[in-house]
Amino acid sequence: MAFEYAPAPESRSVVDIAPSYGLFVDGEFRPAEDGKVFKTVSPSSEEVLSEVAQAGQSDVDAAVRAARKAFEKWSALPGAERAKYLFRIARIIQERSRELAVLESLDNGKPIRESRDADLPLVAAHFFYYAGWADKLGHAGFGSDPKPLGVAGQVIPWNFPLLMLAWKIAPALACGNTVVLKPAETTPLSALFFADICRQAGLPKGVVNILTGDGSTGAALVAHPDVNKVAFTGSTEVGKAIARTVAGTEKKLTLELGGKAANIVFEDAPIDQAVEGIVNGIFFNQGHVCCAGSRLLVQESVQDELLEALKRRMSTLRVGDPLDKNTDIGAINSAEQLARIKSLADSGEAEGAERWAPRCELPSTGYWFAPTLFTGVTQAHRIAREEIFGPVLSVLTFRTPAEAVEKANNTPYGLSAGIWTEKGSRILWMADKLRAGVVWANTFNKFDPTSPFGGYKESGFGREGGRHGLEAYLNV
């Protein structure tokens, strides 16, 4: 008899989702001016979770107006006073973390183990961290009394809805800005719950405004003439469009875009931990991670051994119900994303790479993609060049450290990279040469609010997190 894990579902009853939500403008929920709404579904079951308002131009105007009005008082508050609100928000997030984790897993499809153990702790940590900076801005290296920018228009993606919100809102508020934030079309709910947390924390009206909607809402927000700062996390394609919109204005811009990170495994790597790091690098959050280690560069001398170990490990991944506490890989966020992953994976096969996936039964409803590995991939293959944003790993090989650097850097992106070796000097040598914003050594996908994060080249510019993250929200 085998040791089969019985279902261990987290209770859905800890979260109370309303049948419909309005926009959060000037401290109040209100419907869109033109009354338009759209549905948000759970990607694991295709069940409609709620109906949310689709913000139009006049709603964007109202939200920016509210933020502008609130800016005067908010920016004039002593830093220690702003910090109190941020600490309060952080504590409420901790107190409501179970509810928010379930909500995030329902709306996004990510496994509860990750929303509970990664997303929510990081969200709270980010608010705690920037709360600490609010009264110390004069010591951050940007002058003795750096000023905020004004109204920040922020557009965030669907892969880490609440965490990306935290990355955007926490430093903005700490520095004295007010914000209008647009969550992704497919994952609006946690931002709306965050709006409720702002009310619970007694945050002054208009300091945080949440506008739900599709790409047109985001486009209207970033183009709004009274927005002083635009921050965007998402695809390189949309990032470029935003850069064009903002060009020639006085708006300050930070972009955190796509990636095609190399996870580089040397022959002297700690193999078992490298396998874990590869799995965590590409299958964390179904591979919906801009800094995912989607290209495995393995030294030819250990290729067979490593791939065998990796396949064995992939065979133990548990794909299924995101709310089951034993699930490792949840649902793909949307039908559209699933189609994109499928088409890129098919191109890998068509271009001659060898496809492998462990045997796993996928649920019949919802959007699912089995963890997949491609071997025999070359730099010329689409799956080695384009961001798949799904649980698909392309394996390439190298012979020497110099070749590893060359191949790792041979991409239009430059967000992250991983190095696996027991040789400390090689880690330093590699890190110096890799053109990537984050370089992990003997680990991958580790995040911390104190550590700046951002890209080179088509992965964007500007840094989020750490002291560096303040610069994007200060007039320096």
């Binding site: 040791f3 019985a6 261990a8 183990r113 002297d268 078992d272 874990e276 506490k325 034993n326 003997n442």
Partner: protein, 334 residues
């Protein structure tokens, strides 16, 4: 329990033949050192992270019932005190045979683990029960005695009827880099486990992970012991501050997996010391399940060295069958 045909259990006569293919790495102290130092390193953060993640598995209802009974059947119920008496050992044996007097469906434990001078008492008390007698030996727990004394200690326990010998390695020799000495000592103890009828007591090799201190050392000593013929590798004596931990046990599970891949010889693993609750025990079973799979999930290949763990498993078992928590007065104190 059947072992798949392509695998050779470490205690079968064919194992020695299989290990002969590795003879070159143990041919000299230098060769053994090169081999052990050439094993992949262990990243401590990564290893501990993996063990912690496996510790978040949620084992409920039917899976929990299965795991509890499996864990009970894997226990080496242990008493290793200076104050041990025949009466105490007999009481422990009775408990091992019938862990829950109110529920005869509770499985019996795998073995009773005692000092060598108690083997005879335990053997008599367990007669016909199918429960093994395991004896610590080789100047347990410190292992600080001359080799002839250790061998005599072992032979005495085997002669008294021990089915299994839990030896300690010479940590001093290992830490000062005398790997071949440790290797030869394990081989000699293995030879001392032989009985006149040609059979042999199974040999568990205790590392005392807490004294070896680094994960790299634990991986090296795992390979060294398996090359020397260990049937089981065991984390610790239970007599020092750090005993079995999820990371050091996970590392040993990876070692037996890799050893089987390299040689075809299957070796068992026994974490000992510090595992006191059902929750802990289930974490270990999850690690075995997801690192080695069902082939190791039997008392033949995985054991818990424990004493107080049994009562917690029994209380959780009663809770599952009755729906109520009982309490320490509803399990026996032995």
């Amino acid at each position: 329990m059947q072992t798949p045909g392509h695998l050779t259990p470490a205690y079968s006569p064919q194992a020695a033949e299989r290990l002969a293919s590795m003879a070159d790495v143990t041919a000299s102290d230098a060769a053994l050192r090169r081999f052990l130092h050439g094993l992949p390193g262990v990243d401590a953060v990564g290893l501990e992270g993996r063990a912690a993640t496996l510790g978040t598995r949620s084992i409920k209802t039917t899976a929990k019932a299965y795991a509890i009974d499996l864990a009970i059947s894997m226990i080496d119920l242990t008493t290793l005190e200076g104050a041990d008496t025949p009466g105490k050992v007999r009481a422990l044996c009775a408990k091992g045979v019938n862990p829950d007097p109110t529920d005869r469906t509770a499985p019996k434990v795998a073995a009773i683990c005692v000092y060598p001078d108690m083997v005879k008492t335990a053997k008599e008390a367990l007669d016909g029960s199918g429960i093994h007698v395991a004896s610590v030996a080789t100047a347990f727990p410190a292992g600080r005695a001359a080799l002839p004394v250790k061998l005599a200690d072992t032979a005495d326990a085997v002669a008294a009827g021990a089915d299994e010998i839990d030896m300690v390695i010479d940590r001093g020799a290992f830490l000062s880099g005398r790997y071949l000495q440790v290797f030869e000592e394990i081989k000699a103890v293995k030879a001392a486990c032989a009985r006149p009828d040609g059979t042999a007591a199974h040999l568990k090799v205790i590392f005392e992970n807490g004294e070896l201190a680094t994960y790299d050392n634990i991986r090296r000593v795992s390979w060294l012991s398996m090359l020397a013929g260990a049937d089981f590798i065991k984390t610790s004596t239970g007599k020092v501050a750090v005993n079995a931990t999820p990371p050091n046990t996970l590392l040993m599970l990876e070692a037996v997996r890799d050893f089987r891949d390299a040689t075809g010889v299957q070796v068992g693993v026994k974490p000992a010391g510090g595992i006191r609750t059902t929750k802990d025990a289930i974490k270990y079973l999850v690690m075995v399940n997801e690192t080695l799979g069902a082939e190791w999930l039997t008392p033949e290949w995985f054991r818990f060295g424990a004493s107080s763990l049994l009562n917690d498993l029994l209380m959780q078992r009663q809770k599952l069958s009755t729906g109520r928590y009982s309490g320490p007065d509803y399990v026996t104190v032995d």
